[in-house]
């Protein structure tokens, strides 16, 4: 360039002046970190703004429901909600079979629960923990309305006709002095009034007051209360019945410690009970103990799920490695062609593949027919390959195999052929070159594929349900059973939480090993 000698500005002090500023401060003295944060804020905000709608969507439609399930696994409001007075009274009474006040409270609670038809739910819930609770609550619930407590109402009405007047009752119970003097009566009357309005749609000031309110009034008066604005009645000569006797007369079980232990154990609103149940333990008065031999099913089921998942993972490695190796070493064109054989099952409906296996593995199915025709087995010696563990393993290996082949293939594709060539040029034979040079580099692929297959298989539900029979089912199937058939949602939630914890642990390991954003789909 001929005219390159252009006069430019000399470096002046201003232009090339080096300044000595510490690494942590910007030129104006503000901390560099703060300056940087300010200049990045807009970018961060924009990125978050783009992500926010989806994040919110996932949180509401997915994360929140899972959180709700976790809560359910420890939530246990049913005893405290259905029998609030009993729970309160029980906390004052440590004897094996509690005393009279607890039975009085139970009487009030049960009458109310029966009106609301809540006692059967409670019975069902307690039945998970202690057999017979369901029929006990159902039976006593039916009987409690006919308990001989009407004698108190009759005697009080005889003593003063005002006790027969519903409007009068309403006035009495509105008086603060009376309420303070008659705590049990006030509580029972309020519950009765609510119940009358809510369940029957009637006005409490017009309906006959329930017997259990009279019983409560008798107890208050017998205890020596003197309500200021109510006719004075001497109850010392009254004929009496005791709730405890009435209950035990109705069902002996009320006189046994078992039901009381169960009630005490499940009185708190938060319980570890479902988790204990999920690992075959139970709460007893003496602390946590194993369940009866015959009821221990979950630990075994978890172990079976793990073992079968490992078997499936191992078969996937065994079958997937050679195919991935072949695909990675073939020329692109043939590899793509064979890849279709891997991708087509991957893209085909899970139910189609499961139906196929059901059809193939049946005793009257294609495989057995073929074996009989070839003569390997006799017509009466047809193999049982379905509704057992064999069926589950065969079908699930088939379904999950692409999840092993695809990551293996992508790792193997990244191993340059020059490594094996170098090993051979250094004198290694085929096997040594493979085992010492190629295989170690493909291990990350095995790791990624294995974790993926294992994660997917321990949570599987559909295939084991359809081809697993009773011996080949997984923990998922048990969870489904508790949700839709036994309705023991708490236990389903606890089992689900344990399964979730196992999966999240593996997910974490997968993230560390492969990185979530490196998940590859469809080659």
């Amino acid at each position: 360039m001929a005219d390159a000698t252009i006069s430019g500005g000399m470096p002046t002090g201003r232009e090339a002046r080096p300044v000595t500023s510490g690494p942590m401060l910007a030129a104006d003295g503000t901390p560099l970190r703060a300056s940087l944060a300010r200049s990045l804020r807009r970018q961060k905000l924009r990125a978050l703004l783009l992500i926010a709608p989806l994040l919110l969507f996932i949180l509401v439609t997915f994360v929140l429901p899972i959180g709700d399930m976790l809560l359910r696994s420890v939530q246990n409001g049913i005893v405290a909600d259905t029998l609030p007075r009993t729970v309160a009274a029980l906390s004052q009474d440590a004897s094996e079979v509690p005393g009279e006040p607890v039975f009085d409270a139970l009487y009030t609670d049960l009458v109310i629960a029966e009106e609301y038809k809540r006692h059967t739910q409670l019975g069902t819930r307690l039945n998970y923990e202690s057999g017979g609770a369901s029929s006990l609550f159902r039976g006593t619930g039916r009987a409690v309305g006919r308990f001989e407590t009407s004698i108190y109402a009759d005697q009080l009405r005889d003593a003063d006709p005002a006790f027969d007047d519903s409007a009068q009752w309403a006035a009495w119970m509105a008086d603060p002095g009376n309420r303070d003097a008659l705590p049990q009566t006030a509580d029972a009357y309020d519950a009765w009034a609510t119940l009358t309005t809510e369940v029957h749609g009637d006005d409490p000031a017009e309906e006959d007051v329930g017997d259990f309110v009279y019983a409560a009034l008798y107890r208050d008066l017998a205890a020596g209360s003197r309500p200021p604005a109510m006719p004075a009645v001497d109850v010392s000569g009254f004929e009496t019945v005791t709730a405890k006797e009435l209950f035990i007369d109705d069902d002996d079980a009320w006189g046994e410690p078992a039901i009381w232990n169960t009630l005490r154990a499940f009185a708190p609103r938060v319980t570890p009970g479902y988790y204990l149940n999920a690992v075959d333990l139970q709460m007893t008065p003496d602390g946590i103990a194993p369940r009866a031999e015959g009821d221990r099913i979950y630990v075994q089921l978890f172990i079976r799920t793990m073992v079968m998942s490992m078997l499936i993972t191992a078969s996937c490695i065994l079958l997937g490695y050679p195919v991935a190796y072949l695909l990675a070493s073939l020329p692109m064109r043939s590899a793509n062609l064979l890849m279709i054989l891997v991708l087509l099952p991957f893209w085909t409906s899970l139910l189609v593949r499961t139906s196929a296996w059901k059809v193939l593995l049946q005793q009257q199915g294609v495989i057995n027919d073929l074996l009989v025709w070839v003569g390997v087995i006799g017509n009466d010696g047809r193999l049982v390959m379905i509704n057992n563990q064999t069926g589950t393993i065969i079908a699930m290996t088939h379904i999950l195999l692409p999840f092993m082949i695809l990551p293996l293939y992508s790792v193997m594709k990244g191993i340059p052929p020059s490594f094996v060539r170098a090993a051979k040029s250094l004198g290694a034979n085929d096997w040594t070159a493979f085992w010492r040079v190629y295989f170690p580099q493909s291990v990350p692929g095995i790791g990624a594929g294995s974790i993926l297959v294992f994660i997917l298989s321990i949570g599987y539900y559909i295939t084991p349900e359809l081809v697993g029979g009773t011996k080949g089912v997984f923990i998922s199937n048990r969870i489904a059973y508790h949700i839709s058939d036994s309705l023991n949602w708490g236990l389903a939630a606890a089992l689900g939480t344990i399964l979730l914890a196992m999966v999240l642990l593996l997910y974490w390991a997968y993230d560390k090993l492969v990185g979530i954003d490196n998940v590859k789909l469809g080659g």
């Binding site: 360039m1 005219d3 390159a4 000698t5 252009i6 006069s7 430019g8 500005g9 000399m10 470096p11 002046t12 201003r14 232009e15 090339a16 002046r17 080096p18 300044v19 500023s21 690494p23 942590m24 910007a26 030129a27 104006d28 503000t30 560099l32 970190r33 300056s35 940087l36 944060a37 200049s39 990045l40």
Partner: protein
């Protein structure tokens, strides 16, 4: 052509700093003003902060501190698409899904130009880079050099006053690169646009620029026209980075206005021009360009200090001879001589006497 003057500053960096992590500064207090029409090159090793400066000017990075102004207006808060700066990217960044003509029409469409005017401008821009017949090709159907021309045309088609180029020739082979250097320079001169050009190739910087800013460690080490940069580097970094350079280390023993004597670590004394040394006793690195070293006794100035040297290696390079010497304890001392009929070819093992003009030997900082 252009007289660089601070008064006519078109682009200004005012105390600009940049940090990516809040711990270290990638650009440390940058002050630079570029007059209209200048071709300014930012030259430096990778990680010196030159590309970051360009990206801040383009608006793709925000300055952590300081102001960047164009025509006196602070553009810190102006988003890139409103800055109206043309840019040529390192990998061209041609849109792969658009044809060449569509690529060029893109900035014009954005500016809501009507069809006829758009087509005329696209045609003119393509003709300017001699790519008229490729309008309907896809970028992938073009060679690297052709893509480079299209990228250049696209950056110029909307007639920006300022064009930034981020190592635009980095991916081309040597011959094509040299050809494109001239072409870019000519186009820039003809259009009278201001160009800020980033490269790590010093030859490119020297051949194309009006001024070169040498970056190192987040600072401009020297800002000067190419000849001054080569012949009068202000510090050791610039001397080492631009062109080939011999270095001898020693201590200043005599200090004059424009002449000093340096006692080398080997004990020899030489004359030098003090550039970046202050007083007697300072340690210094003395810098001498290989082509300024003289070993023909008849051409040495009488009275000049000379050094004894031993020839280690003679390398034939076609137009030049490159000879490696061992001088004053430095056995990487290079001299270059033109391949002329009367030129001496030195033999390894030969003992010779070398010298130079004191003004060609610059005493710089010891860093």
């Amino acid at each position: 052509m252009v007289q660089a003057s601070r008064d006519a500053a078109f682009v200004e960096f005012d105390r600009v700093q940049k940090s990516y992590d809040g711990q270290t500064l990638v650009v440390k207090d940058l002050n630079l003003s570029i007059p209209k029409g200048e071709f300014l090159t930012m030259l430096g090793p990778s990680g010196s902060g030159k590309t970051t400066c360009l990206m801040m000017l383009a608006g793709f990075e925000t300055a952590t501190h300081g102001e960047i102004r164009i025509s006196g207006r602070n553009i810190n808060d102006v988003p890139p698409h409103k800055r109206g700066i043309g840019m040529v990217f390192q990998n061209y960044a041609l849109f792969p899904h658009m044809s060449v003509a569509e690529n060029l029409a893109f900035p014009l469409e954005v500016r809501k130009m009507d069809r006829a005017e758009r087509e005329a401008k696209v045609k003119r821009a393509l003709d300017m880079v001699q790519m008229g017949q490729f309008a309907n090709r896809r970028p992938a159907q073009l060679s690297g050099g052709q893509q480079q021309r299209i990228a250049l045309a696209r950056a110029l088609v909307f007639e920006p006053e300022l064009v930034l180029m981020d190592e635009p020739l980095g991916a081309l082979d040597k011959q094509l690169r040299e050809h494109m250097q001239f072409e870019i320079k000519h186009i820039a001169d003809n259009l009278g646009i201001t160009v800020v050009y980033v490269t790590h190739d010093q030859t490119e910087a020297l051949t194309m620029s009006d001024r070169v800013a040498v970056f190192n460690d987040g600072r401009i080490q020297q800002l000067a026209p190419p000849d001054e940069l080569y012949e009068a580097p202000v510090n050791s970094f610039v001397a080492q980075f631009i062109g080939e350079n011999n270095t001898l280390e020693g201590i200043v023993t005599v200090m004059d206005q424009n002449r000093c004597v340096v006692r080398l670590d080997s004990g020899d004394e030489i004359d030098a021009k003090p550039v970046n040394v202050a007083r007697v006793g300072d340690r210094t690195k003395v810098s001498i360009r290989p082509e300024r070293v003289e070993f023909n006794k008849s051409r040495l100035q009488p009275g000049a200090h000379t050094l004894r040297a031993r020839v280690e290696e003679f390398i034939y390079m076609g137009d030049m001879f490159r000879t490696r010497l061992s001088v004053a304890g430095n056995d990487e001392f290079i001299i270059k001589s033109r391949n002329a009929p009367d030129q001496t070819r030195l033999q390894p093992g030969q003992e010779i006497e070398i010298g130079w003009l004191p003004e060609d030997c610059r005493a710089l900082d010891a860093a």
